[in-house]
């Protein structure tokens, strides 16, 4: 089942990245900062591991990338959400909600069963 756990983590990171990019086109560094900020430092992963995810999402056609001038005047690679990416994000979110509902349900049922 190791494969599934990797799938699971990757799937979650992908969803979060998509969500952040959905807020507006941004470069890798800004996305990393945003993730860290929003999750209150929960995702203490190496920031480098964001890049394989970005490239994977780009490769699947969920993100679109282009080189643009950044706020500091230097050229940076900006990622934006594609139409396909938006659909994917919605599916992922729905799936996530269903799972967390199910887990919550089971937890509550188990609690009441224990009483």
């Amino acid at each position: 089942m190791t494969d599934d756990r990797t799938d699971f983590l990757k799937g979650t990171l992908d969803m979060l990245v998509l969500k952040v990019v959905a807020l507006g086109p941004n470069h890798g560094y800004a996305i990393a900062q945003r993730l860290k900020q929003i999750s209150k430092d929960f995702f203490q992963v190496h920031q480098g591991s964001l890049y394989p995810a970005l490239h994977r999402l780009e490769d699947r056609g969920w993100l679109h990338a282009e080189w643009k001038e950044s706020e500091t005047g230097r050229e940076a690679k900006f990622y934006s959400l594609t139409k396909k990416g938006r659909e994917q994000l919605e599916t992922e979110v729905r799936k996530w909600e269903r799972l967390s509902d199910a887990v919550a349900l089971i937890l509550r049922a188990a609690e009441s069963g224990a009483k």
């Binding site: 799938d7 470069h27 890798g28 920031q47 591991s49 890049y51 394989p52 490239h55 994977r56 490769d59």
Partner: protein
């Protein structure tokens, strides 16, 4: 491919961009840290630490592209192997079923490919056609001919619009003067000089025949086949260039052909110019290569119209038949004939078998998929997409199918050897080699992929469909729930049963037909009868009157010598060697004109013929020795003759003419305008005609052999000892009488009949093996479905038993459900068989293609197999412990 190239070319560019992107990240991080007051060095250290190994990140980024495309697939394969390893019983059964299906179809496809597409080594052999002149006044085909007169050959060569090239050939058997003795060479052929160029195979040694070999002053040459060279000269290369005196003419051996070259089944080939080939008394056959795009029918029609035009100008030289049609046939069809139909039957049978194997594996996969529902639901919840799951299940089937096709190919390799050995000699041309080859293996690969999809798709789609929640929580198994996939699985089992019924009925019909064929009472006793055929040298055919006398004197003397041998009970001479295929003739009865065609099989024989075959006399008398030695115009007819032509009178004393004796091809040696007096009626015995392989009692007429001077001389002896042991003595007697005369073929009557059965036997064995494999797969299928159903019903059964149900009623319940499936399969299978077996009509003799006995036997067999397959699961069900079953939830 393009994508790989693209990647390679643009690699450096994307690498640079990646560097730039990561660099930007680090520098921005450092900038931010510096702004918070960290020293630059410390800022870099922290940024790098937080980022992780840059090289590792780069590596991972590079991998993402590969990963999305290949890694998942690789993981699917690993997963498939692991999960199949966990479920070995399933894997073994599935691989076994598929391997049998794929193996059997590879064997049949190899046969089909070798026979239809690769049968002959000659250049463009599939555009080569041969011709026959069909005599429209005779439906039996016995007056057709495949050779042509000089004028006809000239007309075809000059006027045809359809051929690139035409060759001519005639079989011949020359004498060979070896200095000390003169003997016969085996059969060879004279050929037109373009023949070797036409066939397009280079010689093994020396050179082939070319145009220059038939010019007026060219020396006489010939080319030898490989087998003859090996057999007679031990493959000695020194024989090349040697001069042989053939038919008194010194002829130089200029070439040896390779082993696969066996044109016209000749042992050697002598070139002749066209005019000589046609005028030299040979029966010249023609073969032509169609221009591209011309059909066989069009070629026949072209020659037909040429012949009809020419016939009006020279009616005696061209098509003297008057009413005729020229028909063309491909060279291949003319060589393999009826075997083609047998192959089609096998092809259909093996496709049925493959379908059974596929349904069986799909069925097993479904059962497995149902048991894995919880696992699948879990994976979906954890983020696996439906596409991903379907692919995974497909990969699993693909792994199964690949292993199975590997095993299947090994099976096919050995199976093909068995099959090639089983094909009766003479069915296929000598040049045809039955073996595995690349196109067929590719096809097998194709089958594997299709099988994988067929077996895997249905279960995959089923497994990922529907609501996951109940499966995940497990509330799905139990009372009241209809069995998951139940209908689909039941449908698969029903169709398996139906398919196997079609197969079994096909095999059953062939078996019944074979029994009818071999058990038929022929009306004579074939045991302990020896026969041999004489080959007369040209000295017997010099002048008409003299040759008749010489041949008949030889026959008389030989019969006397044979009769004198110890162990011989009776002897006879006749014309047509066994197995009993006879010439037929129009029958004209003096004073009884008739409008209909009366075809009678006729035989010219000695007085001992009836005794030797053990045929009883009904009325009148058989030939006396006197009748035969004086060549009296007397005739014995059989009961069928009497029944058909003399329904209400006594045939004895009537006079009958055999019309064929007055025909051009017989005229030279036969009595003209001769009416034979019927002196006796003999009991019917069964024979075959040229176009109908079934045994029947035809009207037959016998006349003394001495009235005609034909070359066909077959001798027969009934013996009180093992007939084969006497052949040596017989051959010695022949040599003593005339050293120039040889025995060409010989054998026992019984063996010649058995040889005839080998064709149907081959088809029967092949089809029956397919049917048996199919039945075994069906038993597995029924068993697995029933066993699965019982495992799902454990709870229900427990409740029933707790409420007082007896073991017997549980047994009955399970059996009833299983037999319901079997019954549905039988109904569908019977309808399908009823519709399909008519295509077997050309392979089945003596019974109807809807033979009720066969149908009934197959139903009984399937019911029996079905009960057997249900019994074990039913027994398991009956032994369910209610306590355990109820706690099962």
């Amino acid at each position: 491919m393009m994508w790989w190239l693209h990647r390679l070319v643009h690699k450096s560019r994307s690498e640079n961009q990646l560097d730039k992107e990561l660099q930007f990240h680090l520098e921005r991080q450092v900038d931010d840290y510096v702004k918070t007051g960290l020293p630059t060095e410390e800022a870099w250290r922290r940024a790098r630490l937080e980022f992780g190994g840059v090289d590792r990140v780069k590596e991972e980024v590079r991998d993402t592209r590969w990963e999305t495309r290949f890694d998942n697939l690789w993981r699917d394969f690993r997963y498939a192997f692991r999960s199949l390893g966990r479920d070995r019983r399933f894997a073994v059964i599935a691989i076994f079923a598929l391997a049998l299906g794929i193996g059997a179809s590879t064997v049949v496809f190899s046969l089909v490919y070798n026979v239809f597409f690769d049968a002959l080594p000659y250049k463009d052999f599939n555009r080569s056609v041969v011709f026959a002149v069909h005599n429209l006044t005779d439906s039996s085909g016995s007056k057709d001919r495949e050779f042509f007169s000089p004028a006809e050959v000239r007309a075809f060569r000059e006027q045809n619009q359809v051929f690139e090239d035409i060759i001519g050939y005639a079989l011949m058997r020359p004498t060979y003067d070896a200095g000390k003795s003169i003997r016969f060479f085996p059969f060879g052929a004279v050929v037109t000089s373009n023949t070797f160029n036409y066939l397009g195979i280079p010689p093994l040694m020396g050179r082939a025949i070319s145009e220059g070999d038939v010019t007026a002053d060219a020396p006489a040459v010939f080319v030898m086949n490989y087998r003859f060279w090996q057999r007679e000269f031990d493959g000695d290369p020194g024989v090349l260039g040697k001069v042989f005196v053939l038919n008194g003419k010194p002829t130089t051996l200029i070439g040896i052909m390779p082993a696969q070259f066996n044109a016209f089944s000749a042992n050697f080939w002598i070139p002749v110019p066209y005019d000589q080939a046609t005028s030299g008394g040979y029966q010249l056959h023609l073969m032509g290569r169609l221009k591209p795009g011309v059909s066989v029918q069009a070629a026949g029609a072209d020659l037909d119209s040429i012949a009809h035009r020419a016939h009006k100008i020279k009616p005696d030289e061209i098509s003297p038949e008057n009413k005729f049609a020229i028909v063309a046939d491909t060279l291949l069809d003319s060589l393999i004939g009826n075997f083609k139909k047998a192959l089609y039957a096998l092809l259909v049978a093996v496709l049925l078998l493959l379908s059974i194997a596929c349904s069986n594996v799909a069925n097993l996969s479904l059962a497995r998929a149902s048991l894995r529902e919880r696992e699948i639901a879990m994976r979906v919840t954890l983020g696996a997409t439906h596409g991903r799951l379907i692919r995974q299940l497909l990969v699993e089937s693909f792994v199964l199918a690949s292993v199975a096709s590997g095993v299947g190919c090994v099976l096919a390799y050995f199976g093909l050897k068995v099959v090639a050995a089983l094909i009766p000699a003479g069915t296929l041309p000598e040049e045809t080699v039955i073996r595995m080859n690349a196109p067929v293996l590719l096809l097998a690969l194709g089958i594997t992929i299709v099988t994988a999809v067929l077996c895997g798709l249905a279960p995959a789609l089923h497994a990922v469909r529907g609501d996951l929640q109940p499966r995940l929580t497990g509330s799905d198994k139990g009372v009241g729930q209809s069995f998951r996939h139940g209908n689909l699985r039941a449908g698969l089992v029903v169709s398996e049963i139906a398919l196997s019924i079609v197969l079994l009925i096909g095999a059953g019909l062939l078996m019944r037909s074979f029994l009818v064929l071999t058990r038929v009472d022929l009306g004579f006793d074939p045991k302990n009868v020896l026969y041999f055929v004489l080959n007369l040298p040209p000295t017997y055919n010099t002048d008409l009157a003299g040759s008749l006398q010489r041949k008949n004197a030889l026959t008389r003397q030989l019969l006397e010598r044979m009769q004198a041998l110890p162990g011989v009970t009776s002897v006879a001479e006749f014309a047509d060697p066994p197995p009993l295929e006879y010439e037929v003739s129009d029958t004209i009865i003096l004073g009884k004109p008739h409008a209909d065609r009366r075809e009678t099989q006729f035989e010219m024989c000695s007085e001992g013929y009836f005794q030797t075959l053990g045929l009883p006399l009904i009325r009148g008398r058989f030939f006396s020795e006197d009748d035969v030695s004086r060549a009296r115009d007397v005739m014995v007819v059989n009961e069928a003759f009497s029944r058909q032509y003399f329904p209400n009178e006594d045939p004895l004393g009537h006079k009958v003419k055999l019309d064929i004796f007055d025909r051009p091809y017989f005229a030279a040696a036969a009595p003209h305008e001769t009416y034979f007096e019927i002196i006796g009626i003999v009991h019917d015995y069964k024979t075959r005609s040229y176009n109908n392989p079934s045994w029947r009692s035809f009207p037959q007429a016998f006349v003394p052999y001495s009235v005609a001077g034909f070359n066909w001389r077959t001798f027969m002896a009934r013996t009180s000892v093992n007939p084969s042991s006497l052949l040596r003595n017989m051959a010695q007697e022949v040599r003593d009488l005339d050293p120039g005369v040889q025995i060409s073929t010989s054998g026992t009557l019984e063996a010649s009949l058995q040889e005839f059965y080998r064709g149907p036997q081959f088809e029967l064995v092949a089809l029956a093996s397919f049917a048996i494999i199919g039945l075994a797969l069906v038993v597995i299928g029924v068993f697995s479905v029933m066993a699965y159903n019982v495992s799902l019903q454990t709870h229900e059964i427990g409740v029933r038993m707790a409420l007082g149900a007896q073991q017997g009623s549980i047994l009955k319940m399970v059996l009833a459900r299983g037999m319901g499936l079997v019954a549905a399969g039988i109904v569908i299978g019977l309808f399908a068989s009823y519709a399909l077996t008519r295509y077997l009509a050309s392979q089945v003799w003596g019974i109807s293609t809807t033979d009720p006995w066969t149908f009934a036997a197959v139903i009984a067999l399937i019911v029996f197999a079905g009960v057997a397959a249900c019994l074990l699961p039913a027994w398991h069900a009956a032994r369910v412990d209610p306590l355990v079953a109820l706690r099962y939830e």
